[in-house]
Amino acid sequence: MNIRHAKTILFGALALSFLVSLGANYFNSYWLFISYDIGINVILAVSLNLINGYTGQFSLGHAGFMAVGAYTAAIITNQFGELNTFLSGVVFLGALLAGGLLAAVGGLLVGIPTLRLRGDYLAIVTLGFGEIIRVILQNMNAVGGARGLSVMHGWTNFFWAFGFAAVTVYVVTALVHSTYGRGFIAVRDDEVAASAMGINPTKYKVTAFVIGAFFAGIAGGLYAHSKQFLTPGGFGFMQSITFVVMVILGGMGNTIGVIIAAVLLTLLPEFLRPIAEYRMIIYSLLLIILMLTRPQGLFSLKKSSVPK
C-alpha cells in the first residue's frame, strides 16, 4: 500500500462507512452483521500482521487480547442505561479505547519478559497467555464465569466497525513506512544486523506487540457490542488460529493481502454452512499446503516476504 494515498483512503473510508451506516436500514440485517464481522476481522488480522508479518514474531494469543478488550468494553457500557445517539457514541468510543488500552497493557506485560525469546518459545508463551486469560475469565463470577456475559447495548454499526478498520490499516501502514517503523522490518529480516545498526530489537518487538494488542482490544469491544454475548470459550486457541490463518493466507507483511484474506475467510464459512464440519479440516490443509508450496501467501506478488 502506498503511504501517500493512505491518508486519502483513510478519510474516504471513514466518510463512506459513515454514509453507509446512515443508510443501514436499507440493508439486509443478516449481511449487515456479517459486514461487522468483516470489519472486526480486518482489524484483528491487520494488527496481528504488524506482529507476525512485519516484525517477524509469532503470536498465538491474539484472541486473548481481544477477550480483554471485549470484556472491558462490555463491563463499561453495561453501567449505562439507554442513551441518545451522541452520548452513546461518546460512551462507546471511551469503552472501546479503554478496552484497547487494557489489552495493550496486557501486551506489555506479556511482551517485556518474553520478547527476548526466539520465535517458537514466543508462540507457546503467547498461546499460554491466551489460555491463562480464558481460565481467569472462566473463574471470574463478576463477569459471569463460564456462563458468559450479556452485553446490553448493540452499538456496533457499520461506521464503528469499518471506521476502526480504516484507522487500523492507516496506523499500521503509516507506522511501517515511517523512518521509525523501518526498524520493525529490520528486526524481522536480521535481528543481529539490526542491533548492530543501533536498533533495539526488544523495544521494537514490544512496541509491535503493544500496538497489535491495542487494536485487538478495540476489535474485541466491537465484537462484544455486535454479538451482545460473550463467553470465555469464544476466545480460545482456535480463534487465535483463525487470525493467524488470515495473516498467512494473505502473506505475512502484506497488508492488502491480509485484508483480502480476512474478508474471504469471514465470508467463506457463510457459504460453506452445509459442509461446516469440514471447515477446520480445510483450513488446516490450506495451512500445510501453503507452507509447502507458497510460503509468501496467496496474494503476494513478491517472491517471498517470509522472515528468514
Binding site: G56, T114, I124, V125, I132, L287, P307
Partner: protein, 302 residues
Amino acid sequence: MSEFFQQLINGLALGSILALIALGYTMVYGILRFINFAHGDVFMLGAFAGFYLAPKVATVLPLPSIGGGLAVMTISMAICAVIGIVIEKLAYRPLRKRPKLTVLITAIGVSLLIEYTCQNSHVFGAAPKSFPLLIPDYPLKLGTLSLNSNQIIVLAVTLALLLALRFIVLKTKIGMAMRALAFNPEAAALMGINTDVVISFTFGLGSALAAAAGILFAVNYPSIDPLMGILPGLKAFVAAVLGGIGNLPGAALGGIIIGVTETFVAGYISSTYRDAIAFGILILILLVRPSGLLGKKEIEKV
C-alpha cells in the same frame, strides 16, 4: 499427612505421563530445533489406537490382564511410531532447509488437521469415548493411604520406558548417531551418518513414547476424545522447556515437577486454575532461567 502422600502419588502418576510426552518434544527439538506441535495429537492417537485394538486383542489374550494390556500398548506404540515417521516425511522433511517459522506453522497445521479429521463424525467423532479396562484395577491399602494399582503401573511402565530409552540413546549405534546429530548435524552427515534415517528414527521413538503415554493416560482417566492431546501436549512442552529443551533427563524431571505442582495446586488451592499452572511456570522459567533447569546456555553466533 496421608492426603499429602495421596496427592504426591497422583502428581507422580500424572507427571510421569507428561514426562513421556516431553521426551518426544525434547528429542525432536534437540535434533531439528523445532517444536513438533503435532506431538500432543500423536499422544491422542495412541489412546485411540488402544481403544480400537482392545477388542481385537481380547480375542487372543485375556483382557483385562497384564499381558493383554502390554500387548495393546506395544501395538499402539508401533502404530504411532509409523504415524510419527509418516508425518515427518510428508510435512516436515520438505521444509528442512526453510525458515523456522514456516516449519512451525506447518506443525500447527498438521496438529489441527489431525484434531479436526479425528473429530469428524466419519472418523472418531467428537464425543468422548470410555476407554476399556486393559489392566485389572485393584484398590491398594498402605496404612492410611489408599492407592490404585493403575497408578503403580503407570510409574513402573514409565520407569521401564525411561531405562529403555536411556539404553537406546547411550549404548546403541543409532543412539550415538542421534547424539551426534544433536551436537552438530553437518559434521554428523560428513562422518557418514544417514541423517534422514536418524531423524525418522527419532520421530518414531518419540511418537512411540507418546503413544505409551496415551495408553497410560487413558488407563488412569478412562475417557478419551480427539482433543484430549492438546493440553497434555502443551504441558509436556512446558515440561521440556522447564528441564532444558534438548536435554533428556531434564524433560523427565520437568514432567514430574509440572505434574506434582499441578496436582498440589488442584488439591490444595483451586482445581479450576490447574490448567493455568503450567503456563505460569513457563513464563516464570523463561524469565529466570530460559535455558531450563538442566540445560546449558547457548550462545548465539553470528
